[in-house]
Symmetry: C2
Subunit: 345 residues, 2 copies
DNA sequence: CGGCGCGATTGAATCGTTCCAATTTGCCTT
DNA sequence: AAGGCAAATTGGAACGATTCAATCGCGCCG
């Protein structure tokens, strides 16, 4: 019956068609594709020719079903519109492409519901590995994922319980050096803008800033919590600060990332506030656009691409040896980059 | 035997386990999941309870194999590091999430080989739809994809042969209005920086610029071809212009996108060239960072998110009715945004 | 010259779900 | 009360590849 159909509708070629054309069995075609060493060179060539002639493309669903696992790697980033995360993704991509493993990129946009739906997807797909910068409380989900055979590596976030391997950048240090820098140039009231407060990166950077201010003695942190971390949130945050009574207005802003910092810069400039004279600004990430901003932005540089490639490499290790008893945590160091937005006294 | 294994290794639950626990057949569970209307409310509840208790997650590979098609949509963008494309992607995401269709995002990084490997992936996965901004010559691949049942919509690029539906932004108009603007503020020699020249967007914008210059009479276009279109390419392109003999040096630059424009701005500023006095600059896309640049950048605004959502919507239409005889081309209009980089005479 | 061993090849079972046709259940109509 | 009909449920055959044990050929050694 299939044969009759073939005459009418040019059906898509399958292994058995390739096998028939090459004069071998389907099993041999499969071997040629997956274990070429097992097949004699002559047969290999004949099969390859048949594949080309028929334009055969294997059906991944069937393959995965039988194999039990998906070759692809899933990644969930916090915000695809933030150049920091696209840089991380590129680092990941570079490593995975070399292994010819497809990368499935999902954007949680800092929304737990979207994060969850991507986790659902990855779980249904039986991904072999997942890279995630978590937003919501997903530890249970990740544990289940791992129990089902999907390896997990946390990106830019240490696992509290230390149960998952992770690659992160030292946010404590970053928060500290940014704050110390502002204190050193003589600022005392520092507005910290970012959020939501529950986000690990925000929490840690803020805590480190507070610690540094306390240690200094006369420093003080004013926290303005935002819902997300883009330029719009930055503009909103700056407006909050400007509404404060004159005496409570900060003389510096520490933005939780560069997008926020750029928004702050815009709003302050628009309001006639001089940067850095009246209010200094420091951002975080050192995205490419920080240097080319109206007033070039000081920032805490994070090695984004390196973070990505380290995470991908680590994930591949975990996949290769899931039972590997050692959970590994790699921490990279951030670096202070001083530009005009915090220049001079 | 499976039962014995179950006692030892807590195997992952499958439909038949859920069915057994709920006291129904696997077929009913499947119906509950896929055609709830066919199942009585009481049974539905029992099955749901069983699913929750066992933590059942369906195996997408098996599902796809039987269903013959993947519910997900694939998208290949030119450059994930370009905010324009991430904006487009967000527009797409918004539409797809509402339909609860996963989006698989691939980055060709303007490399034909990567584009091809993503097409391979999408073909193997039997995606139900693909959105693509092509780099290389992939028309044959796309045709094959379509013949196999994957719907295709081109983004930001009209299909020459008009055989695929597309959503694009009028590059001819964009090239024209940018050039006319430069001519109007008195510039005559315009450096066009972008590439590779084969890229549709570059080709069209450049041609439109040339046409506008010709029509004007005394305008002239100097084309500097770059390999890619990021800030680094912009810096390189600017250096090429600066190396020209004084008399041949342009008095304006039309950058093929804003990333390039920002690079040009950096390099010119570094070389002591005054913008816009000595050389005016206009970019393309009007990404968010254009407005907050050291010298706020004039640009040709493209409605990126709108482009994305239009493309996604169109793709869903095509998927719903692949035989729909009408190939549709939607074209959106760009808009001139004048800022300081082309201000004054 | 027969048997042995080894690489190459194959048949048939299998992965977990969906789909179709067929069956059962329960209710309404006459 | 019997027949008919719709709704709910079910058994079992797909989907298309991979895998493993079993078979086939063939050269070589004793």
């Amino acid at each position: 019956m299939l044969n009759r159909v073939n005459l009418l509708v040019m059906a898509v070629a399958q292994v058995r068609d390739v096998a028939a054309l090459a004069g071998v069995s389907p099993a041999t075609v499969s071997n040629a594709l997956n274990h070429p060493a097992k097949v004699s060179p002559a047969t290999l060539a004949r099969i390859q020719a048949a594949i080309d002639e028929l334009g055969y493309i294997r059906n991944d669903a069937a393959r995965q079903l039988r194999a039990g696992t998906n070759h692809a790697i899933g990644m969930i980033v916090l915000d695809i519109a933030n150049p920091f995360f696209t840089d991380v993704a590129r680092g990941v991509e570079d490593v995975l492409i070399a292994e010819s493993r497809p990368l499935i990129l999902g954007n949680s946009a800092q929304e737990p519901s979207r994060e969850t739906s991507y986790l659902d997807l990855f779980e249904q797909q039986r991904m072999s590995g997942v890279l995630i910068t978590p937003v919501g409380d997903v530890m249970d989900r990740l544990r289940r994922l791992r129990d089902r055979g999907t390896s997990v590596v946390l990106v830019d976030r240490m696992s509290r319980a230390k149960e998952f391997s992770s690659v992160s950048i030292d946010d404590k240090m970053g928060g500290r050096i940014a704050t110390e820098h502002l204190l050193e140039i003589g600022r005392r009231r520092i507005g910290f803008i970012g959020g939501p407060a529950g986000l690990a990166q925000v929490k840690t950077r803020l805590a480190a800033a507070r610690t540094a201010a306390e240690k200094h003695g006369s420093g003080e942190i004013v926290f303005v919590e935002t819902e997300t971390m883009n330029a719009q949130a930055g503009r909103w945050g700056a407006e909050q600060l400007l509404e404060l009574p004159r005496k409570q207005r900060p003389d510096a802003v520490f933005a939780a990332n560069d997008l926020v910092a750029l928004g702050v810069l815009q709003a302050l400039t628009l309001a006639g506030v001089r940067v850095p004279d009246d209010i200094a600004i420091i951002g975080y990430d050192d995205i490419e656009f920080a240097a080319s901003a109206a007033i070039p932005l000081s920032s805490v540089r994070q090695p984004a691409q390196q973070l990505g490639s380290a995470a991908a490499t680590l994930l591949l290790d975990v996949i290769a040896d899931p039972a590997g008893s050692t959970v590994k945590h790699t921490t990279l160091k951030p670096e202070l980059v001083v530009r005009r937005s915090t220049a001079g006294a």
